[in-house]
Amino acid sequence: MSLQLAQLRGMIKYELLMAWRRRSLLVTILFLFVGLAVFTMTMQKEPLGAEGGEVLYVDDTVTPATVTMRLYATGEVTTMPADDAVLTNIPNWLRNIDLQQANATLKMATLLTLVTQLLIIMLLLMSAETIPLDKHYRVNELLHTLPVGRATYLGGKLLAVWVGLLAGMVMCALLYIPIAQGRFGAFDMSAYLRLWGVMLLPAAVFASGLSILAAAGVATRRASVLIGLALMPAGIFVFVFVILAVFTPLVGTANAAYTSLSYDGLINSMFGNIGQTMLIANLAMLLLGLVVWGVGRLREGQ
């Protein structure tokens, strides 16, 4: 076992180094960061408006309910009794919370959902060459004469890509915070980090893993790109579920504006759905990994 662990560590180290030197890891992370920045610039900041100002807080724990607004005319923040128009626009789940922050957080969720699709597409294409590259460089024959098991080989390839992605994405997530805050204002940091942890990272693991495993048997880089393209429907299929996971609670809550679902409940429901979707997608990917490993064993040495 210690030998396999040492081999895995070695593979992660040198596969990462090679990915860095051939710029594929850098391109992936830059692409993600630029995607985030472009989506951020194109997304409008839409304040929750009421007549004469931006609604910052609606408090219905007092009677009568009050609304805190920043007046467009003077910029002054003022609290006044909420009229029927305000109460109709601001459903129960948006009351008694910081509306500016909730608004920015929901914007962030929308944006990161779109970026997830971009990430899935890119990784399906970029990761497919991981194993065919060994054939391209003609080192696969040498590698198969070494005492490295098939599971260790596949595991090493996958883990190297995932560790690289994890490092790059953590960097992206941190560097993006000031950009997002500048554009949307303060947002719920915990929800933001959870979006990365529950949606983007698992999506990256899924897309890269699926692509690496599906292209494991092909002999050329060109064929691996074609495999990546062929996997697009699977990527889009999973993305549709991500969209449903993110927006179903939102839409449901908006339609049931007067139900008692809270903002926290909404966010938790959203994360629950995304987590479930990603878990299923990644389990399917791991199942493919088992199939690839099994087929490899059957074909080994024939």
Partner: protein, 298 residues
Amino acid sequence: MIEITNLTKTYRGGVKALNGLTLDIGMGMFGLVGPNGAGKTTFMRILAGLLRPTTGQVIAFGHDMNTAHGRMAAKANLGYLPQELGLYPNLNALEFLDYMAILKGVTDGGERKRQIHDLLEKVRLTDVAKRRLKTYSGGMKRRIGIAQALLGNPRLLIVDEPTSGLDPEERVRFRNLLADMALERTIILSTHIVEDISQSCNDLAVMRAGQVIFRGAPGDLIERARGHVWTITSSGERPNGGLTLVSTLQMANGVQYRVVGDPPPEYRAVPNEPSLEDGYMWLMQDTVSAAEREGIGV
């Protein structure tokens, strides 16, 4: 010790690459020669654990290579230099050797460093060890190939056409390096270049059509050709009549042909001292003739 018993390999489509091959290979340098399609590469790939035989058995250092566990154990004792060696172009020699050493199971960092340092010295690549491998010449790549094959101090070293593409100086150096290595391990050297065998092997096998048609010392193969190697000088047409032409030399008085076979008296052939190459050519000619006499296609 490598024991090979009744090995056959039939590829999909019915091509029979090995046909009941049986061999024992001990310590030292073992040469494997034969024409294209003789089954040498298939045999080497089976020994390296890259292919599984259709039938038969390979026992390498007591490990049965027909089992997954046996193959893995045999691979732990194996160094392999394929004919077409690929390298990771974005790594330098130190990094590549370190990576290969880890995969070979040299897990101790200090030991890895020591081995890499020694091997780079041996293959004379210390000065360029930090250069990316994509900048290496063909000869340097072969040398890094032999260095990686020797990592982990393997008991069996398989080298397939190691000197092809090398200049004469590199070839001699490479042969000497292999000969040094053969003192403490088994080296199986497969080649088309008979001179490589004659200069370095004390034991050899000649393969043809998936079978071993000769097994013995180079001297024995040379002896087989004694009395069948001739020089014919002619200003006219090239000698024929079942003779195998080994070399042609333009001289002032005509063309001098070195031939293997039994030339008719009118050629006024002069007998020659046989070389290993002559022995090989005679064996091939003799095998084909015997097969033709028996009506077997070879």
